[in-house]
């Protein structure tokens, strides 16, 4: 993946291994409505990540014991294609993808007016076609667009982005290399209008000052990505 280096960097900013400024996102592109069968869909490229999301629902929930009598349930399946990583990944869920599926459902559900669709399910299928660090955030960002494309009523479109620490600097949107070799990773999902956080995870080591700086950076990054989400929907339905 070619990283596009934008001109006009802030003075005194720290250059990263891939040439980005500390608060610079990788190039991002979102397209809504890319699949025929799904009720809603979105395709996202974020740096070297390629993620496809399909949404079905609200639809009838066939497993009665998991139905909620007064609201819909958001179910998410995060899956990595065998060819999405350097060494072929065995097909099917592993512990990592099960965990990401769970927290993704929980990151998306607070935005949805679930009470409008009792007993039903909203199924979100996230396929990572190519992975280059930050796939869970890419999946959540694309999933919101796909849910909006499916016509699901929501308070806001959840958007996600990570910040972290690499080479002793707090930086936005870790690349695969920075994620693997870095000192900390902090993925965050947020409902941008209210600023309410729907997902937060961290691994590594950050002082509380660094943590706050990273969190602020991630929230800033989310705001920028949020605009690209909106543009994707407006492009799909605009004339």
């Amino acid at each position: 993946m070619i990283i596009i280096i934008t001109l006009g960097k802030k003075e005194g900013s720290v250059k990263r291994a891939d040439g980005r400024a500390f608060d610079e996102l990788r190039p991002i592109k979102i397209e809504a409505g890319v699949l025929e069968r799904a009720d809603g869909s979105a395709y996202l490229e974020f740096g070297g990540n390629k993620v496809l999301v399909a949404v079905y629902g609200p639809r009838e929930f066939h497993i009665r014991r998991f139905q909620k009598p007064d609201q819909a349930v958001v179910r998410c399946r995060y899956n990595m294609a065998p060819f999405s990583v350097d060494d072929r990944k065995r097909p099917g869920p592993d512990r990592r993808s099960v965990e990401i599926s769970k927290i993704t459902s929980e990151a998306l559900a607070p935005a949805v007016f679930l009470e409008k669709y009792p007993r039903s399910t909203i199924d979100v299928f996230i396929e990572v076609l190519e992975a280059e660090g930050g796939t869970r955030c890419a999946g959540i960002t694309a999933a919101s667009v796909a849910m909006a494309d499916a016509g699901i009523p929501m308070r806001d479109m959840v958007v996600a982005c990570a910040a972290g620490k690499a080479d002793d600097n707090v930086v936005l949107d870790l690349s695969e290399k920075e994620d693997k070799e870095g000192q900390a990773d902090l993925p965050v999902a947020v409902m941008p209008r209210t600023g309410e956080i729907t997902l937060i995870q961290m691994d590594g080591n950050l002082s509380s000052e660094e943590f706050e700086k990273a969190l602020d950076l991630a929230l800033e990054g989310c705001k920028k990505i949020s605009e690209i989400q909106k543009d994707a929907l407006k492009t799909r339905y605009g004339e």
Binding site: G57, A148, M154, R155, R193, K234
Partner: protein
């Protein structure tokens, strides 16, 4: 204060106006703001602001007429797919009254019916009925699915759009509020109708649609003018076929 205009395209979470406006369909109030909950077009009427969704699932409402397919036969009722997150139930009593008869004798799996929603309870259990003019089983024809929110556009003001299609194609057309449309006529005309309906669905939110539909019908129907005579013959035949239960 208002930040959008009538017919603007908005997305979920977008702020539309402040508290002096009333929150209509497709919107919600949060503190002192009115926001959109869906991708759709703003509809402003006086002080009421709504958003007409561009995509949505059919949620059954009492009194609606819908087209459903029998997918299940149970002890004293049929289960129907009504193109919705909620399947419908048709009690045997709606068909047989108090008489006890075998359900398979009336309708089998795969049959397509025109029904009315009699009742929807708080957990969205949907009871369907067949009593009423025009309700019953379809014979022949084709089915077309459209987004349920686009049904009003397909019908048009006082049926203007749907009547124009019926006149030009000489097809019988029945529109369910659940977005399922039944069309029956000459096979070529059924396909013309399908094309026109799909075009209306795609362009429902654009202006000048009626003119484009008229042009498309002219082109497609008159392009098939060789079949004119046959169409008329078929029309006479069709008059005898009514959508009723035997």
């Amino acid at each position: 204060m208002i930040t959008v205009k009538d017919k603007d395209l908005v997305v979920p979470g977008e702020v539309l106006a402040d508290e002096e406006y009333n929150s209509g369909r497709g919107t919600f109030r949060e503190e002192n703001k009115i926001c959109s909950s869906v991708v759709g077009l703003v509809a402003l009427r006086n002080k009421k602001i709504s958003v007409i969704p561009l995509q949505s699932k059919y949620i059954p409402k009492r009194g609606d007429v819908v087209i459903g397919e029998i997918t299940d036969i149970r002890f004293s009722m049929w289960g129907l797919d009504i193109n919705s997150p909620y399947s419908g139930l048709l009690p045997a009593s709606e068909v047989f009254g108090k008489e006890k008869r075998e359900l398979e004798r009336a309708f089998v799996i795969g049959d397509v019916l025109f029904l009315r929603v009699i009742d929807v309870d708080e957990v969205k259990k949907v009871k369907l009925g067949l009593k009423g003019r025009g309700l019953g089983k379809f014979r022949g024809g084709i089915l077309i699915n459209i987004t349920p929110t686009k049904v009003p556009r397909l019908i048009g003001k006082k049926g203007s759009m749907i009547n124009m299609i019926k006149d030009q194609t000489k097809c019988e057309i029945v529109v369910g509020q659940n977005g399922v449309v039944w069309v029956k006529g000459q096979p070529e005309m059924e396909r013309v109708t399908e094309k026109v309906i799909k075009m209306i669905e795609e362009q429902a939110h654009t202006s000048g649609l009626t003119d484009r539909v008229r042009d498309m019908l002219m082109e497609l129907v008159n392009g098939n003018s060789d079949n004119q005579k046959e169409d008329e013959d078929n029309l006479n035949e069709n008059k005898d076929i009514k959508t009723s239960i035997d």
